[in-house]
């Protein structure tokens, strides 16, 4: 238990500090790197909760794919960050308002949970039983009770994917493209022509 407590405090401290650094770092690439650290330690917190499947998904999806693209974009951008920071004082009150509202909501939820248990009107979340692994328990719920939500989420993602392709796909005319099938299919018959030339006459096309 002591080890788990140490791990919890370490991971949550790293998460909070990394989160602070994301907004306070001067260099945006450092911000993204801190964001990755925050994701990673949040995954560690999931493991401590016994949700190892979610932890791995967090690392694979957010750290392994989403944050790579963030980093990609931030590295390529050539933005004057001094200019970006000029509006800081102007937008600070609005940001503080939203942040304060969020903090208030979270305190409300956590007090409600600590005094009344989990949300009223719903079954309390059941701990993973010995028989099922994490993955199995998620699969049993996801593909039975929540199948329509699951399908709907898939549909939304499909729409997003098609949208991204439609926005970026452009066919430039006059571009020579490689058609590998044509290259592979090219043989002596199609690739060359043997011409018999009489001496001293040459050929004319």
């Amino acid at each position: 238990m002591a080890l788990q407590a140490i791990a919890f405090y370490l991971l949550s401290a790293v998460t909070v500090v990394a989160g602070l650094c994301v907004v306070s770092a001067r260099n945006p690439v450092h911000s993204v790197l801190f964001l990755i650290l925050a994701f990673f330690s949040a995954a560690g917190l999931f493991v401590l909760l016994g949700a190892e499947f979610l932890a791995m998904l967090l690392v694979v999806v957010y750290v392994g794919a989403v944050a790579v693209l963030f980093l990609f974009v931030v590295m390529m951008l050539d933005v004057d960050f001094a200019a970006l920071r000029q509006g800081f004082a102007q937008y600070a009150p609005l940001g503080a308002l939203i942040g304060g509202f969020l903090a208030f909501e979270m305190i409300l939820v956590s007090t409600a949970v600590s005094t009344h248990g989990a949300a009223a009107g719903h079954d309390t979340p059941q701990a993973a039983t010995q028989g099922f692994s994490n993955v199995e328990s998620i699969g049993r719920v996801l593909y039975t009770d929540y199948i329509y939500f699951f399908q709907a989420a898939g549909l939304v993602l499909l729409v997003a994917m098609i949208g991204a392709i439609v926005l970026t796909l452009r066919h430039k005319p006059g571009v020579r493209r490689q058609v590998i099938a044509d290259q592979v299919a090219r043989g002596p018959k199609t690739g060359m022509r043997i011409v018999q030339i009489k001496p001293g006459e040459g050929i004319s096309e």
Binding site: H30, M56, V59, G64, V68, S133, N134, V135
Partner: protein, 357 residues
């Protein structure tokens, strides 16, 4: 674990775990020196050269001589480099490469962390490997390393997708994400290995699974930036890609990290498709041996399989010419991704409607 009370306390548990980690990493790093030599010797053999043959008998100590050379040289940090990230990148690459070995079962019960989502853990760790390269390329503050790291990022993200699909087919067949369980299901002989569908009753799915093992092998090459997909460090275009500005020990860490990743991929393909520590034929006399002897017997088969796949990867490096970048992307997205998607559907359909449930 010993039943004494000390080993149950947090201190004892920490000691045991550290000892287990050391027991994995130290032999691994020593073996790595010889893997590196084998890589160079095989490459030389294909080109009818002798390869390193001066340091020690047959050049066996060449890697150790290289190690001394790397460590004793000066670390040069470029002027405009982001120092912290510059030095963090090779350390990250090296550490992530070693962390993956935590869930590899070497023999029955011989695993540091026997977690339920072992396959997914390895997938997550290998997807993190890209950060060492991106950070190294960006922090160098130089054009060639940056171009190399951008290439690498796109390449690794692309091939991860097909690796993920291949892993799904194996998970569907085995019904588990625990590597130990996956290997145990392949017991009994080579016809039970996942590459042949995992058992004679699944023989109809064997062609699909064999294809998937080939896709996994090729994707592993791309994922570890090995030739023919070593575009991030293509010397004809980018000097040495993200490694240009690195010298001395940081360069060594990059190089070792890459090699550990390659061996990890060899281990993964033998665990997922070729039965891990299971012998190709289940000899009856082995069952009468003591459990320890059986474990060493399994370790022997596992090492032999890793060596075989490492040989294959070294041969690919020697034989196959480098891909062009658009060909690499075409292979990843237009060939492997649809193939793997169809294979997942086929294997899932077989699991549900075939007689094999």
């Amino acid at each position: 674990m010993a039943p004494t009370s000390f080993w149950a306390t947090p201190g004892g548990w920490t000691l045991i775990t550290v000892a287990q980690i050391m027991a994995v990493i130290l032999p691994l790093l020593v073996a790595l020196a010889f893997f590196m030599l084998a890589d160079r010797k095989i490459w030389a053999g294909v080109q009818m050269r002798k390869g390193p043959n001066v340091v020690g008998p047959f050049g066996l100590l060449q890697s150790f001589a290289d190690l001394m050379k790397f460590v004793l040289k000066e670390i040069v940090i470029p002027d405009g480099a982001d120092k912290f990230v510059f030095l963090l990148a090779p350390v990250l690459t090296f550490a992530l490469a070693l962390v993956g070995w935590a869930v590899i079962p070497f023999a029955p019960g011989w695993v540091v962390g026997n977690i339920n989502v072992g396959v997914l853990y390895l997938f997550a760790i290998s997807s993190l490997g890209v950060y060492g390269i991106i950070m190294g390329g960006w922090a160098s503050n130089s054009k060639y390393p940056f171009l190399g790291s951008l290439r690498s990022a796109a390449q690794m993200v692309s091939y991860e997708v097909s690796i993920g699909f291949v892993i799904i087919t194996v998970i569907l067949l085995s019904g588990s994400m625990n590597l130990q369980t996956i290997v145990e299901k392949q017991a009994g002989g080579f016809w039970n290995w996942n590459v042949l569908g995992g058992g004679l009753k699944n023989i109809f799915i064997a062609p699909v699974m064999f294809g998937m093992s080939v896709v996994f092998f090729i994707s592993a090459l791309a994922e570890t930036n090995r030739p023919p997909f070593d575009l991030p460090e293509a010397e004809s275009e980018l000097v040495a890609g993200y490694q240009v500005e690195y010298s001395s020990s940081p360069f060594l860490l990059f190089m070792i990290g890459e090699l550990v990743n390659i061996v990890l991929m060899c281990a993964l393909i033998s665990l997922l498709f070729f039965g891990g520590w299971q012998a190709p034929i289940d000899f009856a006399f082995v069952h009468s041996w003591s459990p320890t002897a059986q474990s060493f017997y399994g370790l022997m088969w596992f090492s032999a399989k890793i060596c075989f796949f490492f040989f294959m990867i070294a041969m690919v490096k020697a034989i196959v010419p480098r891909y062009r970048y658009d060909q690499l992307m075409r292979l990843g997205w237009k060939v492997f991704l649809p193939t793997c998607g169809i294979a997942v559907v086929l294997v899932a359909a077989w699991r549900v409607f075939g007689g094999a449930a």
